[in-house]
Protein backbone atom coordinates (compact mmCIF):
# COMPACT_ATOMS: atom_id res chain seq x y z
CA UNK A 1 0.00 0.00 0.00
CA UNK A 2 2.74 2.41 1.11
CA UNK A 3 4.78 1.58 -1.97
CA UNK A 4 1.88 2.04 -4.29
CA UNK A 5 0.99 5.40 -2.79
CA UNK A 6 4.58 6.66 -2.64
CA UNK A 7 5.01 7.74 -6.23
CA UNK A 8 1.66 9.51 -6.69
CA UNK A 9 2.15 11.23 -3.34
CA UNK A 10 5.59 12.47 -4.34
CA UNK A 11 4.23 13.56 -7.71
CA UNK A 12 1.59 15.67 -5.99
CA UNK A 13 4.03 17.15 -3.50
CA UNK A 14 6.51 17.99 -6.22
CA UNK A 15 3.79 19.66 -8.29
CA UNK A 16 2.59 21.75 -5.38
CA UNK A 17 5.03 24.68 -5.84
CA UNK A 18 4.00 24.93 -9.49
CA UNK A 19 0.30 24.81 -8.61
CA UNK A 20 0.76 27.54 -6.02
CA UNK A 21 2.64 29.68 -8.53
CA UNK A 22 -0.11 29.19 -11.03
CA UNK A 23 -2.80 30.05 -8.48
CA UNK A 24 -0.81 33.11 -7.39
CA UNK A 25 -0.27 34.34 -10.93
CA UNK A 26 -3.98 34.26 -11.69
CA UNK A 27 -5.24 35.15 -8.22
CA UNK A 28 -6.93 31.78 -7.74
CA UNK A 29 -8.03 30.71 -4.24
CA UNK A 30 -6.79 33.91 -2.65
CA UNK A 31 -3.21 33.21 -3.67
CA UNK A 32 -0.98 36.11 -4.64
CA UNK A 33 2.62 36.49 -5.73
CA UNK A 34 2.89 39.95 -4.18
CA UNK A 35 3.71 43.24 -5.87
CA UNK A 36 6.65 41.81 -7.84
CA UNK A 37 5.26 38.54 -9.23
CA UNK A 38 8.05 37.77 -11.70
CA UNK A 39 10.72 38.02 -9.03
CA UNK A 40 8.65 35.64 -6.92
CA UNK A 41 8.32 33.18 -9.83
CA UNK A 42 12.07 33.23 -10.38
CA UNK A 43 12.70 32.64 -6.72
CA UNK A 44 10.24 29.78 -6.32
CA UNK A 45 11.21 27.92 -9.51
CA UNK A 46 14.92 28.25 -8.78
CA UNK A 47 14.68 27.15 -5.17
CA UNK A 48 12.38 24.26 -6.05
CA UNK A 49 14.77 23.05 -8.76
CA UNK A 50 17.56 22.98 -6.18
CA UNK A 51 15.35 21.26 -3.61
CA UNK A 52 14.37 18.57 -6.12
CA UNK A 53 18.00 18.00 -7.04
CA UNK A 54 19.00 17.60 -3.40
CA UNK A 55 16.12 15.20 -2.71
CA UNK A 56 17.07 13.21 -5.81
CA UNK A 57 20.59 12.87 -4.46
CA UNK A 58 19.21 11.58 -1.16
CA UNK A 59 17.69 8.51 -2.82
CA UNK A 60 20.85 6.39 -2.95
CA UNK A 61 22.06 7.11 0.60
CA UNK A 62 18.55 6.39 1.91
CA UNK A 63 18.53 3.06 0.09
CA UNK A 64 21.93 2.18 1.51
CA UNK A 65 21.07 3.17 5.05
CA UNK A 66 17.65 1.55 5.21
CA UNK A 67 18.47 -1.33 2.93
CA UNK A 68 15.14 -0.70 1.22
CA UNK A 69 14.95 -0.42 -2.53
CA UNK A 70 11.75 1.60 -2.41
CA UNK A 71 13.63 4.87 -1.93
CA UNK A 72 15.29 4.32 -5.25
CA UNK A 73 12.04 4.23 -7.15
CA UNK A 74 10.93 7.88 -7.19
CA UNK A 75 14.40 9.02 -8.17
CA UNK A 76 13.78 9.39 -11.89
CA UNK A 77 10.57 11.30 -11.32
CA UNK A 78 12.26 13.68 -8.88
CA UNK A 79 15.16 14.20 -11.27
CA UNK A 80 12.73 15.08 -14.04
CA UNK A 81 10.94 17.49 -11.71
CA UNK A 82 14.29 19.14 -10.97
CA UNK A 83 14.85 19.57 -14.69
CA UNK A 84 11.32 20.86 -15.25
CA UNK A 85 11.64 23.50 -12.54
CA UNK A 86 15.11 24.54 -13.77
CA UNK A 87 13.75 24.87 -17.32
CA UNK A 88 10.77 26.84 -16.03
CA UNK A 89 13.17 29.06 -14.09
CA UNK A 90 15.00 29.83 -17.31
CA UNK A 91 11.80 30.37 -19.28
CA UNK A 92 10.41 32.79 -16.69
CA UNK A 93 13.71 34.63 -16.85
CA UNK A 94 13.88 34.80 -20.63
CA UNK A 95 10.20 35.38 -21.41
CA UNK A 96 8.80 37.29 -18.44
CA UNK A 97 11.83 38.94 -16.85
CA UNK A 98 13.57 39.92 -20.10
CA UNK A 99 10.43 40.09 -22.29
CA UNK A 100 12.12 37.68 -24.68
CA UNK A 101 14.50 40.43 -25.74
CA UNK A 102 17.32 38.40 -27.29
CA UNK A 103 19.76 41.30 -27.17
CA UNK A 104 19.23 41.60 -23.45
CA UNK A 105 19.43 37.85 -23.03
CA UNK A 106 22.73 37.58 -24.90
CA UNK A 107 24.08 40.58 -23.03
CA UNK A 108 23.13 39.23 -19.63
CA UNK A 109 24.38 35.72 -20.34
CA UNK A 110 27.73 37.02 -21.53
CA UNK A 111 28.20 39.57 -18.76
CA UNK A 112 26.95 37.91 -15.60
CA UNK A 113 29.04 35.02 -14.36
CA UNK A 114 26.23 33.71 -12.16
CA UNK A 115 23.91 33.46 -15.14
CA UNK A 116 26.53 31.58 -17.16
CA UNK A 117 26.92 29.13 -14.28
CA UNK A 118 23.16 28.61 -14.15
CA UNK A 119 22.94 28.16 -17.91
CA UNK A 120 25.70 25.52 -17.89
CA UNK A 121 23.86 23.64 -15.14
CA UNK A 122 20.63 23.72 -17.13
CA UNK A 123 22.32 22.59 -20.36
CA UNK A 124 24.02 19.73 -18.52
CA UNK A 125 20.62 18.52 -17.33
CA UNK A 126 19.30 18.13 -20.88
CA UNK A 127 21.15 14.88 -21.71
CA UNK A 128 20.14 13.50 -18.32
CA UNK A 129 16.46 14.17 -18.93
CA UNK A 130 16.74 12.91 -22.51
CA UNK A 131 18.23 9.58 -21.40
CA UNK A 132 15.88 9.01 -18.51
CA UNK A 133 13.65 6.46 -20.28
CA UNK A 134 13.93 2.69 -19.71
CA UNK A 135 14.83 2.27 -23.35
CA UNK A 136 17.74 4.71 -23.14
CA UNK A 137 18.92 3.06 -19.94
CA UNK A 138 19.06 -0.31 -21.67
CA UNK A 139 20.65 1.10 -24.78
CA UNK A 140 23.40 2.95 -22.96
CA UNK A 141 24.03 0.19 -20.43
CA UNK A 142 27.17 0.91 -18.45
CA UNK A 143 27.63 4.31 -20.07
CA UNK A 144 24.27 5.38 -18.65
CA UNK A 145 25.56 5.49 -15.07
CA UNK A 146 28.71 7.24 -16.20
CA UNK A 147 26.63 9.90 -17.99
CA UNK A 148 24.32 10.39 -15.06
CA UNK A 149 27.24 11.21 -12.78
CA UNK A 150 26.74 14.63 -14.41
CA UNK A 151 24.13 15.25 -11.74
CA UNK A 152 26.90 16.02 -9.23
CA UNK A 153 28.44 18.96 -11.13
CA UNK A 154 24.89 20.10 -11.96
CA UNK A 155 24.05 20.32 -8.26
CA UNK A 156 27.32 22.08 -7.54
CA UNK A 157 26.74 24.64 -10.31
CA UNK A 158 23.15 25.17 -9.19
CA UNK A 159 24.22 26.01 -5.66
CA UNK A 160 27.02 28.21 -6.97
CA UNK A 161 24.51 30.06 -9.17
CA UNK A 162 22.35 30.68 -6.09
CA UNK A 163 25.28 31.70 -3.89
CA UNK A 164 26.52 34.18 -6.43
CA UNK A 165 23.26 36.07 -6.90
CA UNK A 166 22.18 36.66 -3.29
CA UNK A 167 22.59 40.24 -2.16
CA UNK A 168 23.89 39.96 1.36
CA UNK A 169 22.92 36.91 3.32
CA UNK A 170 24.56 33.73 2.00
CA UNK A 171 23.23 31.50 4.79
CA UNK A 172 20.79 29.59 2.59
CA UNK A 173 23.20 28.85 -0.28
CA UNK A 174 25.75 27.72 2.31
CA UNK A 175 23.18 25.35 3.82
CA UNK A 176 22.66 23.82 0.38
CA UNK A 177 26.42 23.53 -0.01
CA UNK A 178 26.66 21.79 3.36
CA UNK A 179 23.89 19.37 2.39
CA UNK A 180 25.61 18.59 -0.91
CA UNK A 181 28.91 18.02 0.90
CA UNK A 182 27.17 15.53 3.19
CA UNK A 183 25.54 13.72 0.29
CA UNK A 184 28.77 13.51 -1.70
CA UNK A 185 30.75 12.63 1.43
CA UNK A 186 28.49 9.66 2.01
CA UNK A 187 29.26 8.37 -1.48
CA UNK A 188 33.00 8.92 -1.09
CA UNK A 189 32.94 7.06 2.21
CA UNK A 190 31.06 4.14 0.67
CA UNK A 191 33.47 3.99 -2.19
CA UNK A 192 36.59 3.95 -0.05
CA UNK A 193 35.05 1.21 2.12
CA UNK A 194 34.23 -0.83 -0.94
CA UNK A 195 37.77 -0.38 -2.22
CA UNK A 196 39.21 -1.49 1.09
CA UNK A 197 36.96 -4.53 1.18
CA UNK A 198 38.00 -5.42 -2.34
CA UNK A 199 41.66 -5.14 -1.38
CA UNK A 200 41.17 -7.41 1.58
CA UNK A 201 39.30 -9.92 -0.55
Amino acid sequence: MFDRALKPAIFLLASLPLLLLFAGAFGIAGQSLGPNPIREMLHVTGKTALNMLMITLMASPLREITGQLRWQRPRRMLGLFAFAYALLHFLVYAILELDLDFNDLAREISRRPFIIVGMVALLAMIPLAATSTDRMMRRLGRRWSALHKLVYPVALLGIWHYYWQVKADVTEPLLYAAALTLLLGFRALKRSRAARAANRG
Binding site: G34, P35, N36, P37, I38, D99, F114, W164, K167, A168
Partner: protein, 316 residues
Protein backbone atom coordinates in the same frame (compact mmCIF):
# COMPACT_ATOMS: atom_id res chain seq x y z
CA UNK B 1 15.09 76.65 -9.48
CA UNK B 2 13.37 75.55 -12.62
CA UNK B 3 9.85 74.33 -12.53
CA UNK B 4 9.97 70.58 -12.43
CA UNK B 5 8.48 68.93 -15.50
CA UNK B 6 8.13 65.25 -15.91
CA UNK B 7 9.59 63.98 -19.16
CA UNK B 8 7.75 60.68 -19.28
CA UNK B 9 4.09 61.57 -19.02
CA UNK B 10 1.60 60.25 -21.47
CA UNK B 11 -1.95 61.54 -21.10
CA UNK B 12 -3.07 57.94 -20.78
CA UNK B 13 -0.77 57.42 -17.79
CA UNK B 14 -2.37 60.11 -15.69
CA UNK B 15 -4.78 58.92 -13.06
CA UNK B 16 -7.89 61.09 -12.95
CA UNK B 17 -8.01 62.88 -9.66
CA UNK B 18 -11.34 61.43 -8.60
CA UNK B 19 -9.93 57.93 -8.91
CA UNK B 20 -7.01 58.90 -6.78
CA UNK B 21 -9.32 60.24 -4.09
CA UNK B 22 -11.68 57.31 -4.37
CA UNK B 23 -8.79 54.98 -3.80
CA UNK B 24 -7.95 56.83 -0.65
CA UNK B 25 -11.50 56.87 0.56
CA UNK B 26 -11.64 53.13 -0.01
CA UNK B 27 -8.40 52.64 1.88
CA UNK B 28 -9.63 54.77 4.73
CA UNK B 29 -12.82 52.74 4.92
CA UNK B 30 -10.84 49.51 4.88
CA UNK B 31 -8.52 50.78 7.57
CA UNK B 32 -11.46 51.87 9.70
CA UNK B 33 -13.18 48.51 9.43
CA UNK B 34 -9.93 46.70 10.12
CA UNK B 35 -9.40 48.88 13.17
CA UNK B 36 -12.88 48.05 14.42
CA UNK B 37 -12.18 44.37 14.13
CA UNK B 38 -8.74 44.27 15.61
CA UNK B 39 -8.40 47.39 17.71
CA UNK B 40 -5.31 49.24 16.65
CA UNK B 41 -3.24 46.07 16.25
CA UNK B 42 -1.64 45.82 12.86
CA UNK B 43 -2.01 49.45 11.91
CA UNK B 44 1.65 50.08 12.70
CA UNK B 45 0.92 53.65 13.64
CA UNK B 46 -0.56 53.09 17.06
CA UNK B 47 0.00 55.74 19.73
CA UNK B 48 0.58 58.48 17.21
CA UNK B 49 -0.89 61.96 17.39
CA UNK B 50 -3.67 63.32 15.23
CA UNK B 51 -3.35 62.74 11.49
CA UNK B 52 -0.85 65.06 9.85
CA UNK B 53 -2.05 68.15 8.03
CA UNK B 54 -0.29 68.96 4.83
CA UNK B 55 -0.45 70.67 1.46
CA UNK B 56 0.20 69.16 -1.95
CA UNK B 57 3.40 70.15 -3.68
CA UNK B 58 2.49 69.60 -7.30
CA UNK B 59 5.57 71.42 -8.54
CA UNK B 60 7.85 68.63 -7.34
CA UNK B 61 5.43 65.77 -7.97
CA UNK B 62 5.30 63.36 -10.85
CA UNK B 63 1.87 62.95 -12.35
CA UNK B 64 2.32 59.22 -12.72
CA UNK B 65 -0.24 57.19 -10.78
CA UNK B 66 0.97 56.27 -7.28
CA UNK B 67 1.26 52.62 -6.29
CA UNK B 68 -1.30 51.33 -3.82
CA UNK B 69 -0.78 51.61 -0.07
CA UNK B 70 -0.40 47.84 -0.03
CA UNK B 71 2.29 47.82 -2.72
CA UNK B 72 4.20 50.46 -0.77
CA UNK B 73 3.87 49.00 2.72
CA UNK B 74 4.07 45.22 2.26
CA UNK B 75 7.08 45.01 -0.06
CA UNK B 76 10.06 46.61 1.64
CA UNK B 77 13.79 46.25 2.09
CA UNK B 78 14.33 47.05 5.76
CA UNK B 79 16.95 44.51 6.78
CA UNK B 80 16.60 45.52 10.44
CA UNK B 81 13.41 43.45 10.38
CA UNK B 82 14.56 40.61 8.13
CA UNK B 83 15.70 39.88 4.60
CA UNK B 84 12.40 38.99 2.95
CA UNK B 85 10.41 41.78 1.37
CA UNK B 86 7.43 40.90 3.56
CA UNK B 87 9.45 40.74 6.81
CA UNK B 88 9.21 44.46 7.65
CA UNK B 89 5.42 44.40 7.28
CA UNK B 90 5.17 41.22 9.32
CA UNK B 91 7.66 42.04 12.04
CA UNK B 92 7.63 45.82 12.51
CA UNK B 93 4.07 46.25 13.77
CA UNK B 94 5.08 46.31 17.43
CA UNK B 95 8.03 48.61 16.87
CA UNK B 96 7.89 51.69 19.14
CA UNK B 97 8.40 54.69 16.89
CA UNK B 98 7.20 57.12 19.58
CA UNK B 99 8.52 58.59 21.82
CA UNK B 100 11.58 59.25 19.68
CA UNK B 101 14.65 61.39 19.95
CA UNK B 102 17.13 62.52 17.32
CA UNK B 103 20.68 63.50 18.15
CA UNK B 104 22.31 66.28 16.16
CA UNK B 105 26.10 66.12 16.26
CA UNK B 106 29.30 67.17 14.53
CA UNK B 107 30.18 70.36 12.68
CA UNK B 108 27.24 72.55 13.65
CA UNK B 109 26.69 75.37 16.11
CA UNK B 110 23.63 73.76 17.62
CA UNK B 111 23.98 70.19 18.78
CA UNK B 112 22.20 67.94 21.20
CA UNK B 113 19.26 65.60 21.57
CA UNK B 114 15.85 66.66 20.38
CA UNK B 115 12.45 65.06 20.70
CA UNK B 116 10.69 64.16 17.48
CA UNK B 117 8.14 66.85 18.25
CA UNK B 118 10.91 69.47 18.49
CA UNK B 119 12.38 68.24 15.22
CA UNK B 120 9.05 68.45 13.37
CA UNK B 121 7.45 71.50 14.99
CA UNK B 122 8.56 74.37 12.70
CA UNK B 123 8.05 72.48 9.45
CA UNK B 124 4.95 72.55 7.29
CA UNK B 125 4.37 69.13 5.77
CA UNK B 126 3.85 68.69 2.07
CA UNK B 127 2.91 65.76 -0.10
CA UNK B 128 5.29 64.99 -2.93
CA UNK B 129 4.73 62.16 -5.35
CA UNK B 130 8.17 60.81 -6.22
CA UNK B 131 9.49 57.98 -8.32
CA UNK B 132 11.30 55.44 -6.15
CA UNK B 133 13.93 53.26 -7.83
CA UNK B 134 15.43 50.34 -5.91
CA UNK B 135 18.97 49.23 -6.74
CA UNK B 136 17.41 45.79 -7.36
CA UNK B 137 15.83 47.13 -10.57
CA UNK B 138 12.25 47.54 -9.38
CA UNK B 139 10.47 50.82 -8.84
CA UNK B 140 7.26 52.40 -7.62
CA UNK B 141 5.52 55.75 -7.30
CA UNK B 142 5.04 56.99 -3.73
CA UNK B 143 3.07 59.94 -2.32
CA UNK B 144 5.45 60.88 0.49
CA UNK B 145 4.67 63.36 3.26
CA UNK B 146 7.56 65.43 4.52
CA UNK B 147 9.57 68.62 4.35
CA UNK B 148 12.88 69.64 2.76
CA UNK B 149 15.90 68.27 4.60
CA UNK B 150 17.59 71.61 3.87
CA UNK B 151 15.12 73.42 6.17
CA UNK B 152 15.89 71.03 9.01
CA UNK B 153 19.67 71.16 8.62
CA UNK B 154 19.72 74.95 8.43
CA UNK B 155 18.21 75.16 11.93
CA UNK B 156 21.35 73.70 13.47
CA UNK B 157 23.68 76.17 11.72
CA UNK B 158 26.23 73.84 10.14
CA UNK B 159 29.74 75.34 10.19
CA UNK B 160 32.00 75.82 7.19
CA UNK B 161 33.61 72.50 8.04
CA UNK B 162 30.35 70.64 7.40
CA UNK B 163 30.98 69.02 4.01
CA UNK B 164 28.87 65.90 4.51
CA UNK B 165 25.93 64.85 6.60
CA UNK B 166 25.67 61.37 8.07
CA UNK B 167 22.50 59.61 9.22
CA UNK B 168 22.22 56.67 11.60
CA UNK B 169 19.33 54.24 12.13
CA UNK B 170 18.26 53.09 15.59
CA UNK B 171 20.32 50.18 16.96
CA UNK B 172 17.97 47.99 18.98
CA UNK B 173 18.30 44.26 18.31
CA UNK B 174 15.47 43.56 20.76
CA UNK B 175 13.01 45.41 18.57
CA UNK B 176 14.81 44.87 15.29
CA UNK B 177 15.43 41.14 14.95
CA UNK B 178 17.42 41.56 11.73
CA UNK B 179 20.15 43.30 13.71
CA UNK B 180 20.88 40.03 15.50
CA UNK B 181 22.50 38.70 12.32
CA UNK B 182 25.59 40.16 10.81
CA UNK B 183 24.33 40.78 7.28
CA UNK B 184 25.31 44.44 7.56
CA UNK B 185 27.53 46.34 9.96
CA UNK B 186 24.81 47.71 12.30
CA UNK B 187 23.60 50.32 12.87
CA UNK B 188 22.74 51.24 9.30
CA UNK B 189 24.44 54.45 8.19
CA UNK B 190 23.99 56.63 5.16
CA UNK B 191 25.38 59.99 4.14
CA UNK B 192 25.05 62.76 1.59
CA UNK B 193 27.34 65.45 0.35
CA UNK B 194 26.21 68.77 1.80
CA UNK B 195 24.98 70.11 -1.55
CA UNK B 196 22.95 66.94 -2.10
CA UNK B 197 21.49 67.24 1.39
CA UNK B 198 20.53 70.88 0.80
CA UNK B 199 18.91 70.21 -2.58
CA UNK B 200 15.20 71.10 -2.59
CA UNK B 201 14.20 67.62 -3.84
CA UNK B 202 15.81 65.92 -0.81
CA UNK B 203 13.04 65.12 1.61
CA UNK B 204 12.75 64.33 5.31
CA UNK B 205 9.79 61.99 5.29
CA UNK B 206 7.32 61.43 8.12
CA UNK B 207 4.35 60.00 6.27
CA UNK B 208 2.81 58.63 3.13
CA UNK B 209 -0.65 58.64 1.59
CA UNK B 210 -1.64 61.40 4.00
CA UNK B 211 -0.87 59.33 7.10
CA UNK B 212 2.06 59.04 9.45
CA UNK B 213 4.66 56.55 8.25
CA UNK B 214 3.92 52.95 9.13
CA UNK B 215 6.79 51.27 10.96
CA UNK B 216 7.83 49.11 8.02
CA UNK B 217 8.37 52.21 5.91
CA UNK B 218 10.88 53.71 8.36
CA UNK B 219 8.83 55.43 11.06
CA UNK B 220 9.01 57.96 12.46
CA UNK B 221 11.61 59.76 10.35
CA UNK B 222 13.32 58.73 7.14
CA UNK B 223 15.21 60.18 4.24
CA UNK B 224 14.15 60.21 0.58
CA UNK B 225 16.55 61.26 -2.17
CA UNK B 226 14.52 60.59 -5.32
CA UNK B 227 17.40 60.61 -7.81
CA UNK B 228 19.35 57.98 -5.87
CA UNK B 229 18.80 54.25 -5.38
CA UNK B 230 16.42 53.45 -2.56
CA UNK B 231 19.04 52.23 -0.11
CA UNK B 232 20.24 55.83 0.33
CA UNK B 233 16.85 56.56 1.93
CA UNK B 234 17.80 55.59 5.47
CA UNK B 235 14.93 54.76 7.83
CA UNK B 236 14.11 55.31 11.52
CA UNK B 237 16.81 57.95 11.94
CA UNK B 238 18.17 58.61 15.45
CA UNK B 239 21.26 60.63 14.63
CA UNK B 240 22.29 63.30 12.16
CA UNK B 241 25.96 64.28 12.17
CA UNK B 242 27.76 66.93 10.14
CA UNK B 243 31.23 65.87 9.07
CA UNK B 244 34.20 67.25 7.20
CA UNK B 245 35.21 63.90 5.67
CA UNK B 246 33.05 61.56 3.62
CA UNK B 247 31.43 59.11 6.07
CA UNK B 248 31.44 55.35 5.55
CA UNK B 249 28.03 54.04 4.47
CA UNK B 250 26.57 50.61 5.22
CA UNK B 251 26.09 49.08 1.77
CA UNK B 252 29.35 50.55 0.55
CA UNK B 253 31.13 48.87 3.47
CA UNK B 254 29.36 45.56 2.75
CA UNK B 255 30.11 45.45 -1.01
CA UNK B 256 32.13 48.44 -2.27
CA UNK B 257 32.25 47.20 -5.87
CA UNK B 258 28.44 46.91 -6.00
CA UNK B 259 27.17 49.90 -4.00
CA UNK B 260 28.89 53.27 -4.28
CA UNK B 261 28.70 56.27 -1.98
CA UNK B 262 26.77 58.30 -4.55
CA UNK B 263 24.38 55.61 -5.78
CA UNK B 264 22.76 57.94 -8.29
CA UNK B 265 20.26 56.13 -10.49
CA UNK B 266 22.17 55.55 -13.71
CA UNK B 267 20.98 53.28 -16.53
CA UNK B 268 24.47 53.38 -18.07
CA UNK B 269 26.27 51.87 -15.09
CA UNK B 270 25.34 48.26 -14.39
CA UNK B 271 25.34 46.60 -11.05
CA UNK B 272 28.00 43.87 -11.45
CA UNK B 273 25.31 41.20 -11.38
CA UNK B 274 22.46 42.85 -13.25
CA UNK B 275 21.70 45.62 -15.69
CA UNK B 276 20.34 48.94 -14.43
CA UNK B 277 19.10 49.96 -17.88
CA UNK B 278 15.50 48.96 -17.17
CA UNK B 279 13.26 48.60 -14.18
CA UNK B 280 10.10 46.76 -13.22
CA UNK B 281 7.32 48.96 -11.91
CA UNK B 282 5.85 46.84 -9.13
CA UNK B 283 2.16 46.34 -8.58
CA UNK B 284 1.53 44.91 -12.03
CA UNK B 285 0.95 41.31 -12.98
CA UNK B 286 3.36 38.75 -14.41
CA UNK B 287 2.92 40.14 -17.91
CA UNK B 288 4.00 43.67 -16.97
CA UNK B 289 7.04 44.63 -19.04
CA UNK B 290 10.00 46.52 -17.78
CA UNK B 291 10.36 50.21 -18.54
CA UNK B 292 13.51 52.20 -19.28
CA UNK B 293 15.34 53.61 -16.30
CA UNK B 294 16.01 57.33 -16.63
CA UNK B 295 19.29 59.05 -15.70
CA UNK B 296 18.99 60.34 -12.13
CA UNK B 297 15.64 58.56 -12.03
CA UNK B 298 14.09 61.25 -14.22
CA UNK B 299 15.36 64.15 -12.08
CA UNK B 300 18.39 64.94 -14.27
CA UNK B 301 17.22 68.49 -15.06
CA UNK B 302 17.22 69.26 -11.37
CA UNK B 303 20.30 67.47 -10.10
CA UNK B 304 22.74 66.64 -12.92
CA UNK B 305 24.56 69.93 -12.28
CA UNK B 306 25.58 68.69 -8.83
CA UNK B 307 27.85 66.17 -10.50
CA UNK B 308 29.27 68.25 -13.33
CA UNK B 309 32.79 67.17 -14.24
CA UNK B 310 32.55 63.95 -12.23
CA UNK B 311 33.13 60.56 -13.85
CA UNK B 312 29.87 58.83 -12.92
CA UNK B 313 31.29 55.42 -13.85
CA UNK B 314 33.91 55.86 -11.21
CA UNK B 315 31.68 57.58 -8.65
CA UNK B 316 28.74 55.21 -9.00
Amino acid sequence: MKRYSDPSILPSAITPEHEYFDRRRLLAALAASAAMISGSVGSGIAATPAPPSYTRNTKFSTREAPNSWEDITTYNNFYEFGLDKSDPYERAQEFRSRPWTVEIAGEAELRGKFTLEDILKPHALEERIYRFRCVEAWSRIVPWLGFPLADLLARFKPTSKAKFVEFTTLLDPKQMPGQRSGVLDWPYREALRMDEAMHPLTLMVVGLYGKWLPNQSGAPLRLIVPWKYGFKGIKSIVKIRFTERQPATSWNIAAPDEYGFYANVNPAVDHPRWSQAKERRIGGNFLTSRIDTLPFNGYANEVAALYRGMDLRRYY
